[in-house]
């Protein structure tokens, strides 16, 4: 919890450092304006043409925009926050959003700032995958089967791997698969799969040596690799009291690139009224919501966060991890949510309001849902070539405005734009609403059909994007 939250000034007296870039920076700036708070945005030389820079100039006043050397430099952020009189820092997603050391520094320094996110202790507690697993088990919440601490002993590792193989055989999985990963790793580094128990030892040794080289810690995790699953999420929102978290529903993020990066998200997580599942989908959604809320209550979760779940074809949910931050896809949950019947929910504004110490002001019974939302991530990449990022010059980017469509983009639509090579080539988030799955899908396809996106790279090759992949994937939304 924030120390002395009751002593914090009212919202309109705050100035928030927007410690991020692109579309999320734009959403944070708009949310600040909505709440009556001031903001200071930042940008780097590579990002000078980004829409977030233009918006900061348009919406901001004095001290609303500063050029920094890097978004990754905490000293830079603190210096700008001090120079412009910021009272709080919003980290957005990525960069420092889940860095408990940064959150702690922000709140513990001489000139204290509010970190708009969970308290640093909670980020530390839930950011540790092993700790999260232990906490889950203590509440009878099922985590992904496997070790719940780093394994340093080869014989113990083999014993756990054997258990995980046998567990999968009992589940009737034809080709059991075990994941061996460096405990201290991240971002997909130091992970290998093992199909054959006889191969386990050599893979274990390889990963252990790699972990020692790269992370100076030879601890290894052994987990079941679930291949036939849906990826679900539960959106949690709580105030600084940490006592009464509410959920803003579920999302299904199963449509991903080959590198397991999300490309299309849907809220709610299943559509049992339209599609048939081999399990009781409504019960699964209820279960993961209940489990997530139980964990949030247990740790006194005090801001927005996402509980990520794997759901097997048999309808068994397993907790994957907790993301202690706002996520890219929060807008699709907000789009279908109502508070006391009122729509146009802005979870970023809620995050800021609650982060600055305001009470939640509503309970779970006040939160309802209407219709179905689809979020398309429009990205310059080549799906035919392993989703390789495409870099170049965007010449035109336009779409047909619709009342059911929300476009979130930092790409200027009235002038050409060079995609910076320093960042992922995400161009826009398109959130489509429909009263049911069929309507949302039809609208989604209509939107994609009308989308105009052209450009060339330095070699003169035309722009590559994932739009065709999104069109094709629309058909299989929420199917399992």
């Amino acid at each position: 919890m924030v120390e002395n939250a009751q002593d914090l000034p009212p919202l309109h007296e705050h100035r928030i450092l927007v410690a991020n870039r692109g579309e999320i920076a734009m959403r944070i700036m708009r949310a600040c304006r909505k709440l009556g708070a001031s903001f200071t945005a930042i940008y780097t030389a590579d990002d000078a043409a980004s829409g977030h820079v233009r918006l900061a100039r348009e919406m901001g006043e004095k001290d609303s925009l500063y050029r920094v050397s890097s978004y990754h430099d905490a000293n830079e952020l603190m210096a700008v926050a001090d120079a412009t009189g910021c009272t709080a820092v919003h980290p957005g997603y990525g960069f420092f959003a889940e860095d408990f050391r940064f959150a702690r520094r922000v709140t513990k320094r001489d000139r204290k700032l509010v970190f708009i996110g969970p308290s640093w202790k909670i980020i530390r507690e839930l950011g540790d995958k092993i700790n999260t697993k232990r906490l889950a088990r203590s509440l009878s919440v099922p985590p992904v089967p496997g070790s719940d601490r780093p394994i340093y002993d080869e014989l113990e590792a083999e014993r756990i791997a054997k258990t995980v193989f046998e567990f999968q055989e009992r589940q009737g999985i034809d080709r059991p698969l075990v994941l061996v990963k460096a405990s201290a790793g991240g971002g997909g580094m130091g992970i290998e799969e093992v199909y054959d128990p006889d191969q386990f030892r050599s893979v274990y040794r390889r990963v252990r040596n790699y972990a020692l080289r790269q992370f100076k810690d030879e601890g290894v995790l052994i987990e079941q690799r679930i291949t036939d699953f849906n990826h679900l999420e539960v959106q949690i929102v709580s105030d600084r009291s940490g006592r009464s978290p509410v959920h803003f529903g579920t999302r299904n993020c199963s449509i991903q690139s080959t590198g397991r990066q999300k490309r299309l998200e849907v809220a709610p997580g299943f559509a049992a009224d339209t599609l048939s599942y081999t399990f009781d989908a409504d019960r699964v959604l209820r279960d993961i919501v209940d489990y997530s809320l139980a964990m949030a209550r247990k740790v006194g979760y005090d801001n927005v966060g996402t509980w990520e779940w794997i759901v097997t074809r048999k309808g068994d949910p397993f907790l994957m991890e907790v993301n202690t931050r706002i996520q890219v896809e929060n807008g699709v949950s907000a789009r279908i949510a109502r508070i006391r019947g009122q729509g146009e929910i802005d979870l970023i504004a809620e995050q800021i309001r609650l982060g600055l110490g305001e009470p939640l002001g509503y309970g779970q019974a006040d939160v309802t849902f209407d219709g179905l939302g689809i979020e398309y991530r429009i990205i310059a990449e080549d799906p035919n070539n392993n989703f390789t990022p495409w870099v170049g010059h965007i010449e035109s980017f336009s779409w047909k405005p619709e009342p059911w469509l929300t476009m979130l983009t930092h790409v200027p639509v009235d002038e050409p734009y060079e995609i910076p090579t320093e960042f992922d080539p995400n161009l826009a988030l398109a959130i489509v609403w429909g009263k049911n799955l069929d309507e949302a899908k039809a609208r989604g396809l209509a939107f994609l059909q009308n989308l105009r996106l052209t450009g060339h790279n330095a070699s003169g090759d035309p722009l590559q994007s994932n739009v065709e992949f999104l069109k094709t994937s629309t058909e299989r939304i929420l199917r399992f």
């Binding site: 780097t44 030389a45 500063y66 050029r67 920094v68 050397s69 430099d73 000293n75 830079e76 603190m78 210096a79 700008v80 120079a83 390789t388 990022p389 870099v391 090579t421 320093e422 960042f423 992922d424 080539p425 790279n457 330095a458 070699s459």
Partner: protein, 216 residues
Amino acid sequence: MIDISALLDEIKAQPFRDIVITTPHTGVVTFADIHQGDKAHGPQGQWKEKPGTVIATLERERNPKPICSAEKGVISLLHTELEGRFVEAGTPLAVLRHQLTRAEVENLILRKALHLFPAPERAKYYFTPDVDKKIRASDAHSVIVREGMELLIMSRMKREVPLHYSGPSGVIYAVYFKYNENIDAGAPLIGVCPQDQLPTIQEVIMRVQTDWAEKD
């Protein structure tokens, strides 16, 4: 073949380069005791271990950082209006009029004489491990490149793709990229000299060494 005399005359007519000294990050500026027209020197010592003339100090989060001249020259402009102010990253602090050195003139002329292999995209570039090993063991001149050879790794957005050389066969005479530095599309990565033209290039170098007088 290039007309080296004409090129040298062209450079001699304008033997300066204006270097804008900018802030590497944000911070509060305090100028050193330096004025317009003063001479500044670049890093010195056998290993360039002694920093150049201090132009200003940039303080951020209680850490003062000296901003030093990276080359020798004369201070032609000083933004003293920034004294005591908090500035953005990339803010110009001073302009240094730098007289080209012999090595810089050589470099300018070599860029006209060598076959330049350009960066196809803005990215970071690295030599492939084999080539890198060879360069570290001796030097770039020991590497002979030929059309289609896998020479470099292009790295951007967390992805790495091999880059094949295209152009005439020859030795790598100059390397224009630095480790972990972004190179713009079209900027040269390496300069290649066909082996039969090596004597000509050596002649160019000799000519610059004799014709270009270094000034203090």
